[in-house]
Amino acid sequence: MTPRAMVETALLLGAFVATAGVYGLLYCLWRLRNGRGLKIGSYLSYTASAVIAAIVVALTPLHAGWKVLIAASTVGYLVIPPFTWRYLTRLHRWERKSHDPGFAKHADRHLAHLFRRA
């Protein structure tokens, strides 16, 4: 690895994670506020992250194993925000429902039904 390639690769790796972070942030803001600009911004950020990953894979002198890791991370960064968001939303919804007397009554009936079947 040449000195120049070392610096370029390091900066690309930093930019790769930073743009993935911006994607996560904009994705959440989009889900919160439903703005079209935020949605486009989140997609653009992820695209930038993926493009940077492609440049790292194609042009940097990193060993093949690290390139595979970067490619796999690209998929990881794509799914983490929606996955986390869905998990959090479900968790909060479940929490709200468990405090709702109607839901609790329904749950009790459901449990009683299950026990009867058992």
Binding site: M6, A10, L13, A20, G21, L32, P61, W66, T84, L91
Partner: protein, 467 residues
């Protein structure tokens, strides 16, 4: 208020003082880079740097201990077991820290003897405190663990957060014992020493701050305990899953087998992933509350913790973690840049959030707002961003010219010190260090002023939230 909460406030107060000492010696350390003959043979760079770095460890540790003493009695609705001993040890701890700092200032170093190791400087990086003080830290940590575990046993109950904390206290104590061995083989010594340095910071401290932030969320915004605990389990699993074997990135160049390249590189590359999850969670919580909370400083410092952790540990760490890059970057100002930013984001912001929360409750305020905290928030974060940025530029310059082009020779090191980018970056770091220090001054002013107009009022009973 419980006695242990008063003790928690004392620990938090002591942590603010140590935070100030750390900043003072940090600014002092930065002067040596722009004025190389500064205080030569009077107070050398190495002594200033030791107090700066050890001050970092101690202020955060005191902040963590104070936070736990603050939250545990609320969690279990009873006084902490063995509180008298804990109160005594607080003063012993403070006296020991003061003596160690005075010895490091006035004696500084000794010969290669048992005397020096026991009474001046243990000689192990980041845990330089002399042997007697290191034993004292073990005693304090042991009593702290006893306080928490004993209280849970006496109460006959525990909670999810407390169980995670108790499980974490054991490695926290055991790993510190790594400060003691005297191995003559450098590789073996470093191998075990990193267990203390890395596993404390990227495993046990991460879990500890996770528990503290979970309690903070419950008490600050009334977050649901079940939600917070579920998230804590996921985060702890992910952080430990990536952080423990991420240890490998310290094993690249110390004489360990080659397979550590793969282990360290792979797990370090995974480390930013859970941090991105934390950012998502922070935005979700902030958005669902429309950025509103009664205690605004605590709320904003909690948010800063998630973002700072991602940027400092995730982005700045990933830039230099793969072995091919790390071969040139390790031990340069690049590492210092990552270290400054990551410690601030992951831990510093969290401790400040708890400070605001504890002071709000203890001084009987119905929320905190105003201008002072905004100034301190802006100056501290601007200061750390500026310092991390300046150190990054200096580090890249160093890795490029001194390491990659110059081949890490002594001549390359010396000529590096005169390069314009390096010198300008060191000046920028000094200036931003002053900005950070002014943010600290504003923080202290704000903390002292909280609830001043309501000082006469009786502190409100502290509600047990989330139970």
């Amino acid at each position: 208020m419980y006695r242990s909460q008063r003790l928690g406030l004392k620990y938090l107060g002591a942590s603010v003082i140590m935070f100030g000492a750390m900043i003072a010696f940090g600014v002092l350390s930065s002067i040596y880079y722009i004025q190389p003959g500064f205080l030569v043979n009077i107070f050398n760079f190495n002594s200033a740097k030791i107090i700066h770095i050890d001050g970092l460890v101690i202020w955060l540790l005191m902040g963590f201990i104070g936070s736990v003493y603050w939250f545990v009695p609320q969690e279990l609705e009873r006084e902490v077991d063995g509180i008298g001993l804990a109160e005594l040890l607080f003063w012993v701890f403070c006296a020991a820290v003061a003596i160690v700092v005075l010895v490091l200032i006035f004696v500084q170093y000794g010969g290669a003897s048992q005397w020096s190791m026991w009474f001046i400087n243990q000689g192990r990086k980041y845990v330089e405190a002399p042997r007697w003080a290191a034993i004292g830290i073990v005693v304090v940590a042991g009593v702290f663990a006893y306080n928490v575990i004993g209280t849970a046993v006496k109460a006959g109950k525990t909670t999810g957060i407390l169980t995670v904390l108790i499980a974490d206290l054991i490695p926290l104590l055991v790993l510190y014992l790594d400060a003691f061995p005297q191995l003559t083989n450098m590789s073996q010594d470093l191998f075990w020493w990193w267990w203390l340095v890395h596993l404390w910071v990227e495993a046990t401290w991460e879990v500890l701050i996770g528990c503290i932030m979970a309690w903070t969320l419950i008490h600050m915004v009334g977050a649901s305990r079940r939600v917070v605990e579920s998230w804590l389990y996921v985060q702890v699993a992910l952080v430990l899953g990536t952080g423990i074997l991420g240890l490998g990135h310290h094993y690249f160049w110390i004489g360990t087998p080659r397979y550590w390249f793969a282990i360290g590189g792979v797990f370090s590359a995974f480390e930013p992933l859970p941090l991105l999850g934390m950012v998502v969670h922070a935005v979700y919580d902030a958005g669902s509350r429309h950025l509103q909370a009664a205690n605004r400083p605590a709320f904003y410092w909690t948010l800063a913790e998630a973002f700072g952790n991602f940027l400092g540990a995730g982005v700045f760490g990933f830039m230099m973690t793969l072995p091919q890059i790390n071969m040139y970057s390790h031990g340069t100002q690049w590492t210092a840049s990552h270290g400054h930013f990551a410690f601030w984001g992951a831990y510093g912001c969290g401790v400040i959030a708890v400070l605001y929360l504890a002071l709000e409750k203890s001084r009987g305020c119905d929320g905190i707002d105003g201008r002072a905290w905004k100034w301190s928030f802006a100056l501290l974060n601007l200061g750390i961003l500026g310092m991390a940025g300046a150190l990054l530029v200096a580090g890249i310059d160093q890795a490029f010219f001194e390491r990659a082009v110059g081949g890490s020779t002594w001549n390359a090191y010396l000529s590096m010190q005169g390069r314009p980018w390096f010198i300008e970056s060191m000046w920028a770091r000094f200036v931003f260090g002053l900005v950070f220090a002014s943010g600290y001054a504003m923080l202290v002013y704000d903390l002292l002023a909280i609830g001043k107009s309501q000082r006469g009022a009786i502190p409100q009973p502290i509600a047990t939230a989330g139970s």
